[in-house]
């Protein structure tokens, strides 16, 4: 499903709230990914890019 307007920039941070769970799935524009149940902690991690952001190939695929 596409939304009427979605981000078009190159620097997009995304947090999906996984259906049926309390888990938030954060995806950085660099491809790094992290799961959390705390949006404050997850934004801090995303916005710290590149600190602590492993390249996607080494991050274990992120599921």
């Amino acid at each position: 499903m596409t939304s009427p307007s979605m981000p078009r920039g190159d620097t997009v941070y995304r947090i999906d709230w996984t259906l049926g769970t309390d888990v938030l799935d954060g995806v950085c524009h660099c491809g790094a990914r992290r799961r959390s149940e705390d949006p404050v902690e997850l934004w801090e991690w995303l916005l710290a890019h590149p600190a602590g952001h492993e390249p996607p190939a080494r991050a274990g695929g992120g599921g």
Binding site: M1, T2, S3, P4, S5, M6, P7, R8, G9, D10, T11, V12, Y13, R14, I15, D16, W17, T18, L19, D22, L24, H29, E37, D38, P39, V40, L42, W43, L47
Partner: protein
Amino acid sequence: MTAFVRNQWYVAAYGREIGRELFARTILGESLVFYRTTSGRVVALADRCVHRRYPLSESRLEGDTIVCGYHGFTYDQGGTCVFVPGQARIPRTARVASYPVVEQDSFVWVWIGDHDRADPSSIPRAPWLDDPAYTSVSGMEPLAARYQLLVDNLMDLSHETYLHGGYIGTPEVANTPITTEVDEDRGIVYVSRHMADAECPLFYAKSTGIEGRITRWQDIEYHPPCLYLLHSRIAPVGVLPNADGSDPGGFHVEVVYAITPETENSTHDFWAVARDFALGDHEVSDFLAENNRTVVMQDVVALNLLEKVIATEPEGYQELSINIDTGGLAARRILKRMAEAGAAPARPSEAVPS
């Protein structure tokens, strides 16, 4: 330090509010006076005579000039004083500040900040409000609360279930997870909530005529600091847009808010609802206007209460954020960054010629 985001465009009024009467409105703590010239252009000036501070909005429009109601100082459209009483020499400093203005999408936008930074092309759009393919209703409610509380409110629509139950809230809103995206380059926050099978609230049942359950999409697009768009799509359960993007089975409502700080603790809450169905149907327009205003007033009452709570709370109170706040947290961060950038000088200060 002020939390105002300066050097930005703000909605000051609807175009319909500004005519040949002087019109006062305070924006980001600055008192402004507006009027429309004989050629139809909107002018915004500081609402204080340079002489003895008399409000120009309590004065008189003569042609395209304002004549101060106290001693007759007369100002042109650019704020330059063109007449002072009793003497021929007009002091060089006799002028009031003027503000860049753009009329667009039914709104009067005003730039609060350094003139040389004002770029009209950076004003976000709400084209539905001035599009014959849509029918709109709109209004503005004064809010006795800081603008950040309205941003929090609009970025987390799960509150619809509890604060607006029976109007636009149903259980599915609070129970459906959201996707939040921040477009860092363009400074936009998106929050998306797609409900596949939801109860149809009265607001949409009566306006669309849909009976039974619905597929309800809420796609928020927040252009900080001022413009908030909610793309709302309603359809009978399971009716989706076509692969080519056309959507004949969907009802589209564009909900627009302009969030304009008046003072540190009060806000102009502009709201508009544009629809692509029942065009020109006055009964539907009246219903949507009355119901949306009721919903806005439910928010106003709640946020005014919150403002009082914040005013009396002990220093260092720690609030709690959970998953529903993901979009609101993103908006807060961008606003903080914008406030810092807007407060910074445009360039290193230059020596003032003596």
